[in-house]
């Protein structure tokens, strides 16, 4: 098991080294002519107006909430699927399959609820009081 996590570590290290090498080589090779215009957001484009700190659509937050729930669902289902093969070999595969379907089915009700209430729509139609 440690070996497999050592793979992960080597992967991360390679990523860090590659990024550092790219930026470091660029830093070594490029000419240094600092100019104030180079620091503007779009060097050859529109001058930006206002702050970059805008409040973006609250839909992002709702979608992220829904995503988080199904993220946790994956964390629950994954170990069961790892044990699935062993249970099939023991002839108890149907039990596991039923259990998984019940688990996912209960959460599917949530997905239907969110869907039917139009919370996944990008622009939600809210009935205006007339």
């Amino acid at each position: 098991m440690e070996f497999q996590f050592a793979n992960v570590l080597v992967f991360l290290l390679l990523g860090a080294i590659t990024a550092g090498l790219m930026l470091g080589l660029g830093w070594l090779l490029r000419p240094a002519n600092p100019e104030s215009r180079k620091l503007s957001t779009y060097e050859c484009g529109e001058p930006p107006s206002g702050s970059a700190w805008i409040n973006f659509n609250i839909r992002f937050y709702l979608i992220a909430l829904v995503f988080l729930i199904f993220d946790v669902e994956i964390a629950f289902v994954y170990p069961v699927t790892v044990a699935f093969r062993e249970y099939v070999l023991q002839g108890r595969g149907l039990l596991v399959l039923t259990e998984l379907f019940v688990f996912v089915g209960i959460l599917f009700v949530g997905l239907i609820y969110v869907w039917a209430k139009q919370d996944l729509e990008w622009l939600k139609r809210v009935a205006r009081p007339s």
Binding site: A64, L68, A75, L107
Partner: protein
């Protein structure tokens, strides 16, 4: 080598946590939280809890951190909020921290630590799945109901905010 790696990952975690607490920019705090959470995942690997380590990345880094960033970016003018009572209660806080530190230090020193020689780390995922299917079958299904409740509750609460 093993110890050096441990200290590197532990240092990453602590520096990340310090960044969360000390940074004045909230977005930098959230990014430091990334380092702290990834470091914690590395520490789980050292504890031979491979499944927990991966779930830590999956749920905390992939989900909760994104949610935190969204919450920060959605909050209106979070950078310019003036905290009115910034300096009030600094001394009592210091006293509390010292007391807490003493209590925790005493607990650490007095606890009978059960030290065991390092066993070979084995994959834990199969065992977790196996117990989900045997003795914890009902709790496993109940977890689904809990998740469903959380989903509906979260949506209902945030929708109410949207209407106003």
């Amino acid at each position: 080598m093993y110890a050096a790696l441990f200290y590197f990952i532990a240092g990453l975690t602590v520096i990340g946590a310090l960044g969360v607490a000390l940074s004045t920019n909230v977005v930098y705090s959230a990014m430091s939280l990334l380092a702290a959470l990834v470091g914690a995942s590395g520490l789980y690997v050292f504890l031979a809890a491979d499944f927990v380590a991966v779930v830590q990345i999956l749920v905390y880094v992939g989900g909760i951190l994104i949610l935190t960033l969204f919450a920060i970016l959605l909050t209106h003018q979070i950078a310019e909020i003036q905290v009115s009572n910034r300096s009030v209660g600094r001394l009592p806080a210091l006293g509390l921290v010292v007391l807490l530190g003493l209590a925790m230090g005493a607990a650490i020193l007095r606890a009978p630590w059960h030290v065991e020689p390092l066993a070979a780390a084995t994959p834990t995922t199969y065992g977790i799945g196996d117990s989900f299917l045997n003795q914890y079958l009902l709790p496993f299904e109940l977890a689904s109901v809990v998740l469903l409740t959380a989903l509906v509750g979260a949506i209902v609460l945030s929708r109410k905010e949207l209407r106003e």
